[in-house]
Symmetry: C2
Subunit: 310 residues, 2 copies
């Protein structure tokens, strides 16, 4: 495919168009992904997650500045579950906020979470493949770390940063759905706020529980707006990367590929289901349940039986 | 089934055991759900969502007190995406916090989000069916409203409350993934905090954008710890319920049943996939991709082809 060849040469416009094809589930998107996949796998993919208001985006901007200063190409995927209420404005703001949006070495793309269950993870995985194939040295995947879907997305990364802030106080809700367990580096942002030291102690106490034999993730304190601590964070990322044994690197890549295969399988099953159940047919099934003609469990088995035979 | 019959008579222990069967995907859980489903649909299901720290649980406790005082049976499903780091403690705290956990009219159950993509929504839907069949007058489904999965869960309700607080300030992240669009009532909690009036104005300004012809959701101000505003909230819920036309009630029930059917189909597809790909087989596939023998897109099609034929 022409677009695949252009993308592999690093053409930015081809990359942008390719991402759009993938996001829209264009019929040609699979062929495109198949063609470029053998050239993927060369980027270092960092996942960055934190609760709303943790200063994630400002930290990502700071890292972007350091990465481009070291003359390396960077792709940013901002997984942004905005609502249509504020969505347009948020995405717009996010891109305007990026100091580096005009830097030719940075490619930034927002992904919305609209759409069906599990679809976001597949789409994000596909976009990472495209960015890798386009020759990015680094890919930063930025996502809100509260929901389950968002945690899934971060598993597509090789190295995972979890951002915490002192102002969450005692709200245990911030430690969610396996995020603590998969963090490679903790970032304690807003480290100039009151409660920062207490939060650090609390976090370290929690990490003590992490068990023997595992590498204890470092805790880096930052103040995103002033840039304090960003260089230390960047060093911690590089340290973590260079200290990986060959075995660890292979294990992480396997984890990533495994997770990617899961999201692709899941995404494709969902697409099949959607294709097999056009709106009118689906509504007719809902009618039968509403009238208590049949229960949804029996009906679901019938529907899946039909799809299996098709 | 004996357990189904006991549950339908309102036996609390049978209900607890039935929920455990469903959560564990016990082989008998489908038969149980099929048997009790015809007796479901009689509860008023209220979904309550808000970001971490918004005071959701305290509000739910306040509503629970008012509901039981009016001599009605209540089920509470707290969808709690806790991590294993703090999980046990959180669930324990949540139940201890419930002033009404010893009230025989209240049945409370926490659901964790561990497990595969989309599994949470199906499990929550199943638990609602069990609570309804057990004769609960009200079911409150409480969930953190930031992730996509959590939004899906709230769609299983007939009436949806979204809780906001003044202290989120200008953090646009709070308006996520379609939550604003599906709210029937907004609760502005921590209404005694500075910034409460500004937040109310901001929210009303946003709601102005909601478009003509739609019912504009009321905004109720509360202070959960003192109980201020909880009665007004309870009245707003009842008003909203009693002001629904027959057409609107049917439409909401269709929406709920439709969403439930989707989650069941999705959950069953995921189960099939898991059954067709035992660990060793899956790892062998990952190997082939890691060695770039095949791309994951082509491989996924092959796997799904095999499942379809099985």
């Amino acid at each position: 495919m022409k677009i695949a060849q252009e993308l592999l040469r690093g053409d930015k416009r081809a990359l942008a168009r390719a991402i759009t094809l993938v996001e829209n589930h264009h019929p040609k998107s699979q062929e495109l992904l198949q063609e470029v996949f053998p050239r993927s796998g060369g980027s270092f993919v960092v996942g960055i997650t934190g609760s709303p208001g943790s200063g994630k985006s400002t930290l990502v901007d700071g890292l972007a500045a350091l990465i481009t200063r070291s003359d390396r190409d960077l792709g940013i995927v901002a997984v942004d579950p905005s609502s249509p209420f504020t969505g347009g404005a948020v995405l717009g703001d996010r891109i305007r906020m990026m100091q580096h949006s005009s830097d030719p070495r940075v490619f930034i793309r927002s992904m919305a979470t609209r759409g069906h269950l599990g679809g976001l993870a597949k789409a994000t995985g596909d976009v990472i493949v495209l960015l890798e194939a386009a020759g990015k040295d680094f890919v930063l995947v930025e996502t809100v770390g509260v929901g389950q879907d968002e945690v899934e997305v971060v598993r597509l990364a090789e190295l995972i940063l979890v951002i915490l802030t002192p102002d969450v106080g005692d709200d245990v809700q911030v430690f969610k759905a396996g995020i603590m367990e998969i963090a490679d580096i903790f970032v304690l942002n807003k480290a100039d706020s009151p409660g920062s030291d207490a939060m650090e102690r609390r976090l370290n106490a929690l990490l003590e529980l992490g068990g023997e034999g595992t590498i204890r993730p470092p805790v880096i304190k930052t103040v995103a707006p002033t840039g304090e601590g960003i260089e230390a964070l960047w060093e911690a990322i590089q340290d973590r990367r260079s200290s990986q044994s060959q075995g660890e690197i292979e294990q992480r890549q396997r984890r990533r590929i495994g997770w990617m295969l899961r999201t692709i399988l899941h995404g494709k099953m969902t697409e099949r289901l959607t294709a097999a159940l056009p709106e009118a047919k689906f509504e007719a099934l809902v009618d039968r349940i509403c009238q208590r003609e049949i229960d949804p469990y029996t009906l679901a088995d019938q529907v899946l039986g039909e799809i299996g035979e098709a």
